[in-house]
Symmetry: C2
Subunit: 254 residues, 2 copies
DNA sequence: CACTTGTTGTTATTGTTATAACAACATTTA
DNA sequence: TAAATGTTGTTATAACAATAACAACAAGTG
């Protein structure tokens, strides 16, 4: 039978982010396994209490994920996942587009724009968030990108982004090692640097990312999670890390 | 100032379907209006209780929608909507794709496939759901589509779908009237039919949709909402509505 | 036939969780 | 000192989860 326990709870998570509840997910999955099932069969396959199955099926019906027959007992049938999930996603994408339009409108009229905002240092947390943020900064760079960090911070997706950006922007990276093919359009200096060390069995990592000599992102913290990123366009901050970077560049060349 | 009351609550709805709570939506919108705001300013602009602002900003920070400064008092800044909403949507799309893959896998191995399923009559509710379902059936049709209903049931999107399908499939429509341009590839018979009447100020509408002489969708109910759709591949059901359709076709021709 | 048995669909009730709303307090800043 | 800030804890509320109880009905059994 399909669906390991782990895979199943994983899918339940995915379906939740599409707006389904736990029960809705379980019932829908059960209906995918057994065609034209009765409420009792759904209850047996999904583990959802029989009485709860009815309201849940109602909601799924509203969402166009299941059909109901007029027989007695009622039988239920699942919309094929491609269409069902597709419809769900489509309506979310509509919402997203609408939200984008209106919010961008508000964003353009924002007040208090200059309040020394560019002198501040902004924090963000979590490895994923920081990866996303850095990828965006890479894409927005117009002239130069300078990076100083450990190899294991890079994801393959990020390296791809860098290679693409490298076509129009100067990229220099100081890194402890480089596994995999040498990337195009990127100047790499390999040097084991004194960033990254161990505390409590956790690798504490660090890194500096400079964009167009105007924007800096500094990362630090444990490798897996709890990673902190500091972003700033502040003059002093940028200057500090620019010279920091130049120092290590000279040092790496020896 | 941007954002009418109605528009705002609309956007809040859209943001909810992207996984934000009411407060998260309000705070994010407030931050889009005022750059680099403090917690208190956010509280004033958004109307969210000041004490609630902090945990909400935490969650938004996790979701990569806001940045936090290290100053005192803390200042917050919103991710531009294009990127912020884009990131949210991207992660939902990932979930959807994963869900699709795994669920389609389960779907392919479904048991109890033939149990007279094709003899059953399936119901679905709600105008939107029925529109979606019919559009899919139109796209899946291989040979012929026959429709008998009121003009006001058609949406412009559905007419487009029909015109596209008309390139490879015979389409005949019996309808009470036709406003707008005469569609390509579609044979239209105009005749005020005895379907659709009024009860309690509500227009009760009806319609028959035949696909490849094998699948039928019958709709009925109030025009606005609560519309019911019956779908079947049952032989008897199909035959009944085929002759029903033929009868009205002859009648419409006179 | 009366009677049990089992199933179905519905409703009511309780528990649980996440969000919302508020009050209180220690800390900082002017 | 007065005002603003950041944090904590408590209570309310709504949605969902879980269980129990019930009426309606069909099928089988003495």
């Amino acid at each position: 039978m399909a669906g390991s326990q782990d895979e199943l709870s994983n899918i339940a998570e995915s379906l939740k982010s599409l707006g389904l509840t736990k029960y809705e997910a379980l019932v829908y999955i059960a209906l995918l396994k057994v065609a034209g099932a009765t409420a009792t069969e759904i209850h047996q396959v999904s583990g959802v209490p029989r009485a709860s199955v009815y309201p849940v099926l109602d909601r799924l019906n509203q969402k166009n994920l299941v059909y109901v027959s007029n027989t007695s007992p009622k039988r239920f049938d699942a919309m094929p996942p491609d269409e069902g999930i597709g419809n769900l996603l489509a309506s979310i994408e509509d919402s997203a587009q609408e939200a984008k339009a209106v919010l961008s409108d508000i964003f353009r009229q924002r007040i208090g724009v200059e309040r020394g905002t560019q002198e501040l240092i902004w924090s963000s947390y979590g490895q994923d968030n920081i990866h996303i943020r850095i990828s965006e900064l890479i894409r927005q760079a117009k002239q130069s990108i300078r990076i100083f960090c450990n190899m294991h911070f890079f994801t393959s997706a990020m390296i791809e982004t860098l290679e693409t950006a490298g076509e129009s922007v100067t990229i220099e990276i100081i890194v402890d090692q480089w596994t995999g093919a040498a990337p195009k359009n990127i100047k790499i200096l390999i040097k084991k640097a004194p960033i990254g060390h161990e505390i409590d069995n956790k690798t504490i990592t660090g890194g500096v990312f400079l964009f167009d000599c105007k924007r800096v992102m500094v990362i630090m913290g444990p490798q897996d999670d709890g990673l902190t990123g500091l972003y700033s366009e502040s003059d002093g901050f940028v200057r500090f890390f620019s010279s920091y970077w130049r120092f290590f560049k000279d040092w790496a060349r020896k």
